[in-house]
Symmetry: C2
Subunit: 415 residues, 2 copies
């Protein structure tokens, strides 16, 4: 990779070089986000892979679809970090990488990899560490989510048990905050010449988000704990309905216009007006729609139950009503719209085969093409040769002594 690479609209981060020493979701997603916008992100793994290398889901070959999903577009260097020679290689990779380099993303607390140690060698170092909690204690998405209030507010009103999320939303948000942190620090460095040390804790991302959305203030200021309201939207009118042919649809009326269109499309003007008069309510107001949501949903459900999905689509498609059909991941994967989405493209991932995968969700004027994840150690030799200037002899020596690993020839796959 040419560290002097010039940014373009589709690769605005070209010239940026990040060394990622991390596992699981948050940090790798942050690194991948930057890689998919043109940054050169080198992911460091121990020979044979780290703890996340075999995480579910896996392809029949044993390759982790989780790993290949979260590490697209990166380069892979496999090096034994228990060895002083291995640590020295990574240290040089970080500190000797030109003006766009000297950037570390990690989720572990290794003294040799710390800001203190590395900034001695590279004074303008940018170092971001993802933590579980701000005090350094460990946490994962699921433990943070439990402690932040959402599982006890999820599910129907009769629900007693906490409901965990399937999407590790805090890992995802944390990884994105890490990308924001690195880009912000790089801006600061470009302008002032100074590097810096940053951190972001999974627990803080969850706490901040719960506060940003008003949940924490509501509890502090109103003395209210957000109740369980099933699939309803808090403070408005939105809910799931079942069609005659047993499809489930989610319908959202956020504004007075959405609501008016929904009432018209479902032919409910008469009963809704009668209710408004009898209850002295005004359902064009969100508050009243929410207060009487069960009544209004009851009326609407009869309409949905009397129409097939295709009829529902006809009735709602010419309106402002926001709605969608619930579907499974399998149905999502088979959807022609997904195939046709400019963000999606085919990648041929060794051990997995050809399948649709996404490039960055950020669209620009340049066409997007996803780049597959590396095979473990795929770029070890290239990095040692091109980025660190080692000779073939030196590289072979490191491989033979197990300090560095490259894939066996038959596993290499198409670059």
């Amino acid at each position: 990779m040419d560290p002097q690479a010039v940014p373009t609209e589709g690769r605005p981060l070209a010239g940026l070089r990040v060394v990622e020493v991390a596992t699981f979701v948050a940090a790798p997603l942050g690194g991948m986000t930057l890689a998919q916008l043109g940054a050169d992100v080198i992911r460091i793994d121990p020979p044979g892979g780290a703890a996340d290398h075999t995480r579910w889901p896996r392809a029949a070959s044993g390759v982790s679809l989780y790993w290949t999903g979260l590490n697209k577009a990166k380069r892979s260097l496999c090096v034994d970090l228990r060895s002083p020679r291995g640590r020295d290689l990574v240290t040089r990779l970080i500190t000797e990488s030109g003006p766009g380099g000297g950037i570390v993303l990690t989720n572990a607390a290794r003294p040799w990899l710390s800001y203190e140690a590395l900034s001695q060698l590279r004074p303008d170092l940018i170092h971001l560490r993802i933590e579980g909690h701000h005090d350094g204690s460990p946490a994962v998405d699921y433990t943070v989510n439990a402690a932040t209030g959402f599982p006890l507010a999820t599910g129907g009103e009769g629900q007693d048990d906490p409901v965990n999320h399937v999407l590790p939303a805090w890992d995802v948000a944390c990884g994105l905050y890490a990308a924001i942190g690195l880009l912000s620090a790089e801006r600061h460095r470009r302008i002032t010449g100074r590097g810096q040390e940053l951190s972001v804790a999974l627990g803080d991302v969850a706490l901040a988000t719960a506060a940003n959305l008003g949940f924490l203030a509501e509890a502090q200021v109103n003395g209210v704990t957000r109740p369980r309201i099933g699939n309803h939207l808090y403070g408005g009118f939105a809910r799931d309905f079942t069609t005659r042919d047993r499809h489930r649809v989610m319908v959202v009326a956020l504004t007075a216009r959405h609501w008016a269109d929904l009432v018209t499309a479902t032919g409910l003007r008469a009963p809704v007006s009668a209710l408004e008069a009898a209850l002295d309510a005004d359902f064009s107001r969100e508050d009243d729609r929410f207060a009487y949501r069960d009544v209004l949903a009851g009326l609407a459900q009869r309409w949905f139950a009397g129409h097939d999905l295709e009829q529902v689509r006809q009735a709602l498609s010419r309106t402002s009503v926001l709605w969608s059909v619930y579907r499974s991941f399998s149905e999502l994967a088979e959807d022609d719209d997904v195939r046709a989405n400019p963000m999606m493209g085919l990648i041929d991932q060794p051990g997995v085969g050809e399948h649709l995968a996404p490039a960055s969700p950020l669209g620009t004027t340049e066409a997007r093409r996803p780049v597959r994840a590396p095979v473990l150690g795929e770029h070890s030799a290239e990095i040692l040769r091109t980025d660190l200037g080692l000779s073939d002899h030196q590289i072979r020596d490191l491989q033979e002594s197990g300090v560095v690993a490259s894939p066996l020839p038959e596993k290499k796959g198409t670059p």
Copy 2:
């Protein structure tokens, strides 16, 4: 605000100036993320506020805690965008804002606010538009979530109905991607002198994330639809348990070490070993832990059911086991740890009162202090005077003709 403001470690985005013409969650969260790192973010609202200005939850005064949560640290300009004079003011604010300006964040498709129109006046314009779907059709978090597979994979195995999330995770992620897009484009501009047009669709953020985490590949490649598994973690051992004194705890054993520590702490070595021998299984392996999760959870649950929370805490605190206690938003708000968190601080929000709120989750060497949200139009006069150079006479004229609004004196609150 001095557009020449020099970045610092705690305010790495000082000198960046963003004009935000957007509502609801995604774009405002993106803008706030930048504002909390030092960018000057001016949020534009119509006089009286936009559709999100009264969203739940609300304080007793009627002020929206959702709005005040999502718009911290911004400046507020209230201007009638239906008026040509109003549009001209915003156009000038965007295009005449010095080298750190010329940046627009929006979630609406207004022709006068488009990249095409504005880049005529400011060739290096950076313009990011958040959309529902990539084809421009509208969507909101809840409709996107339904269509992306998660609600049908959430909840217990007996669950039939879709389970919506309470956290609008796609809004949150989309806003963070928008911040990443703006920072990336600013880097590109700083290096090449060129601006650009970007977009990010809520639907694409959800689709990309489902793919990045392996859900889409699993469906395409393995022909498997992710089943419902309640509060279990897919592919490992993690679940909720109930203590003797009726507390719910989430326990996660991701690695062999976590598992060994959990088995030791719960005194289950003997039955677990007996099972391993009888089943020819090895529970130090994640696959086997997952396959036999119900058996292992059954054993563990008896231990938790026989111990109070305090005893559980004693037993697990000296181990590597990852765990937490489920709590409500109210319990979260009352937690001393939250008060003591360096990210949190007291803000005095007009119409709400004093309460704990978060600064950026990104920690640097500088102390973090949250800055409250503006009152609607709080900075109208200041922006017209200082940023646009208008005279007091011109400002009064705009206010009297209703093109621009400022708060009534008694609503202003402490700056």
